[in-house]
Structures are given as structure tokens and as C-alpha cells.
Symmetry: C2
Subunit: 235 residues, 2 copies
DNA sequence: CGCGTTGTTGAATCGGTTCAAACATTGTGG
DNA sequence: CCACAATGTTTGAACCGATTCAACAACGCG
């Protein structure tokens, strides 16, 4: 009856995780899936942290604010990821959907009663912490061009991870950015104008083509994109 | 025999955690405590990730590099914290001690056999992820002055958390910075010269006094420091 | 069609970097 | 204990990448 996934996040699960049903995304079957519209707030910074949210479909942005309104998107959570983290029993950030999304809301109190789940959640959070630290590397030490390229590269990689290894890959990759220029800027620690200029420049260089419609983008040379954003490959 | 701490990180432990002995820092008694000298590498980015390290005493810096040598300190781990995180079975960052330190190295494979520990580790990593996201806010959106003040404030808070709430707190707080200017710069995403100038400026304004000896620092007005670094208080 | 939102581009400005030189502190060996 | 090297810090001047402010163009929803 309890169907168990053998793999989670690329590594075999320890035997202790045999008790709870895990969906194909690594999401435990606790709590009901909830549907959220585009740009809907999932949880708000400072509110009592009652739930942990698993993203099943769509995407969620995790954002922090300074008092004067300056904003930083600190994470973009894709399916399989978790949001709704807490510090001192309150949500440490505001989470908002980028697209229509399906999340599974699990009561923290109930979740923790399942010891077997501890390591499943831990793996996911560990992965997100690694990602956050890589993001910090970009924020602290990369130029505007590198940051934009790294982000676009990530979106490209989501849809065609295997094909971006060889130099003269001249296949086109059409993607739909779920973020506005301002949001990209807030994610990359840049002004929206700089994001604009950088993308226009990438277009001039023939790396991408910016579609007429909002968010439309064609990537002509994913490899070059990766290379430009691309001292990003860590030594 | 199995003594159990009732509290971990300020919150009552769920009942499932009653089985493993936990030290007063929340560190499980698996693996031997190891002593590390100052500036000793604990684990290296890219190496097979066999262990998870718990910091018992001292401090560890977590650092990432770009190919061309640009460096970013992405975290500073204090006692109670964890380092040695992995992505795809290899360490995602290089960890190095800031001071002589005592770490407890736990084999990941063995650790995961203890289901009860999953949530303990999860709590700690969740806390560190929240911290990383706050750090990202600083890297992305704060000025040099704000970043430096926020960091000094953190060091001050470590030693006198309760006393920094009132405005005209004119008590002096003497601290020993375990980081060089260059490292502070690498942590804050600034050049070492900017860190210097900023600190000199804070001294001119009477907020701090820079001691003669390396790392020596006296904070005269912790409250003002907090305020300057201090849109840092999130809305 | 019209108006609000999002995106683009230009010009001036500024915060922080870079490069360079001098200085102080710490550590080492004679 | 002193001399000297290595490491870390401070300061100045020129430069530059990114921001800011402003105007305008393109979508897109009613």
C-alpha cells in the first residue's frame, strides 16, 4: 500500500523513510494540495509560522524587504522545493507565486511528528541552502552581465539541461520568463534599468532575442550564455 | 542513560527526538570531536561529501570561489551550526576555521540511519538558510556602511544581545574580530579598501574605536551601530 | 480605444573599485 | 633582542559600472 520512491534528489533514501507515502516530487502526502493564482501571497514575513509549503507545480518567489521599501528576492522555488521557512516561530520571508501554482500546505506541528520525514525535508532545505549560497556568490562578486546570464542560463537549463554542453549549439530555446524586469533586478541585486540594458546588449550580440510579448525570450546560444554568466562555474 | 535536551534552538523538541543523546549545543554524540587550528581547511569544495561537521567551539567560514579567483564568504558558522553541506554528493563550498575550533565530524551515511536526528539537523539548516537569505538582502540591497554596521552589530550582539535596545547606551563593548579586512570584504561583497574606509569613517563619527592590534575593536555606541546598519531591521 | 503597467533608452551622477604607495603589526631567525 | 620579511591596514587619486531621474514606447486589460 505505501508506495515509496527509491530516489530522492538523486540519492538513495535511507531505509527509515519507508513509512510515509511520498509523491513523485518528493512531497509527502500530508495536507491538501492548494491552488494559488498568479502573484498571490502564500505566507507573509512576520506572521506566525504554522505551515511548511511544498511546491508541486508553478513557482514561488521568496522576498525580503528593508524598512524603506528596498526589496530583495532571495529565492525562486520550483516544483519539489519548500517555502515558508521560519525563524523564531514566524515566517522569515514573504512568499508569493510567480505563476498559477499548486502547493501542499503541511502543518509544521503535524509534520514533525513524523520522524521519518526529517531527512526528506532536511535534504531539500540543504539543497536550497547550497543554492542560496551560490546566489550569494553572484550577488557579492558577479557583474551585471554575469548575473543576468547566469539567471537566463538557469531558466534555459531547466528545459534543456543536457544540450548546453557543446560550444556551437545553435539550436533555439524559447522560454517564457515569469518575472518582470523589476523582479529580475530585485533577484539579482540590480536596478531594473540595468537588467534592461544588459538584456538589450545580449540581444545586440546575438545571444538572445527578446520577444514582442511580455516575458517572451528566445535563447540562440545557450552555451555562450552559460559562458558569459559563466565564470559562474566554480573553480 | 540517554539524557535529552528539552529545548533546541528555542523551541520544544518533538517527542520523536528522545532517542539520541544531544549535547548542550544541540550536537548529537556521533563522531569524535576534532580540534582544528586557525585557518585550517575543514572540507574542500568539490571533494566527495562524506561528513557533516558540527561546530562546537570557534568559528568556521564558508567560502565559494569563481574561476578567476573572486571569492565570496557565504556564511560564518558559529557554535551550534553545521558546515559541510553537499550538492550532488560533493561539498558545495570550502570551509575553513577562523579561529582554533572544535568540530564534531559525523559520517553522513551513519547520521542518516538515525531518523530521530532528521528534524534536529533540519532545524539547524533551516535557521542557516534564513540567515543566508538575510545575508542576500544585505548583499543585494544595502550600502557599504549598512553592511559593515550590520556585521559589527552581529558581532556585538553575540556578546551583549540584551543591552542594545536603548538609544543612549554608552557602555563600551570590546570585541576581537576574527576576520581580516579582506575577509570582511569578501563576506560583505566589498573591496577591502572600502571596508577600511568605512570603518575609519565610523571611528571618525565616534561609533567605534579601532584598536592597535589586529582585530581589536571597541564599540562605543552599539545602538547607533545597529541603527546605521540598521534599515537592516526588516519591515 | 484609452489608460495603467511594463519595458526601453539617454544623460548625469555617485558609490565603490582599482591601482599605487606608505605604514603598522606580527612573526621569524640570527 | 633586533633586523627583516610577511602580512595586514590605511589613505589618495583616477576610473568605471551601475544607479538615478526622466522621457517615451509598447503591451494588455477593461
Amino acid at each position: 500500500m505505501a508506495r515509496v520512491r527509491e530516489e530522492f534528489d538523486g540519492r538513495a533514501l535511507p531505509p527509515c523513510l519507508a513509512a510515509v507515502r511520498i509523491s513523485s516530487l518528493g512531497v509527502p502526502d500530508l495536507g491538501m494540495p492548494q491552488t494559488f493564482a498568479r502573484r498571490q501571497v502564500v505566507c507573509h514575513h512576520g506572521d506566525p509560522a504554522t505551515h511548511l509549503f511544498w511546491v508541486e507545480q508553478g513557482a514561488v518567489m521568496v522576498q525580503q524587504y528593508l524598512e524603506d521599501g528596498r526589496r530583495q528576492l532571495v529565492d525562486i522555488v520550483l516544483p519539489g522545493g519548500i517555502c515558508g521557512l521560519a525563524h523564531d516561530h514566524v515566517y522569515s520571508a514573504t512568499c508569493e507565486t510567480l505563476q498559477p501554482s499548486v502547493l501542499r500546505a503541511c502543518r509544521k506541528s503535524e509534520l514533525e511528528r513524523h520522524a521519518e520525514l526529517g531527512w526528506v525535508v532536511e535534504h531539500q532545505i540543504e539543497r536550497q541552502l547550497c543554492a542560496a549560497q551560490e546566489h550569494a556568490l553572484g550577488l557579492g562578486r558577479m557583474t551585471a552581465h554575469e548575473r543576468v546570464c547566469a539567471l537566463l542560463s538557469r531558466f534555459a537549463g531547466q528545459r534543456a539541461s543536457s544540450r548546453i554542453e557543446r560550444p556551437s549549439d545553435d539550436f533555439c530555446l524559447s522560454i517564457q520568463l515569469p518575472l518582470t524586469r523589476g523582479e529580475i533586478g530585485d533577484y539579482l541585486g540590480l536596478s531594473l534599468e540595468t537588467v534592461c540594458r544588459t538584456m538589450t546588449d545580449l540581444q545586440r550580440r546575438g545571444v538572445i532575442t527578446i520577444g514582442r510579448h511580455h516575458g517572451e525570450l528566445v535563447i540562440h546560444n545557450a552555451w555562450q550564455l552559460k559562458r558569459l554568466g559563466g565564470s559562474c562555474d566554480r573553480a
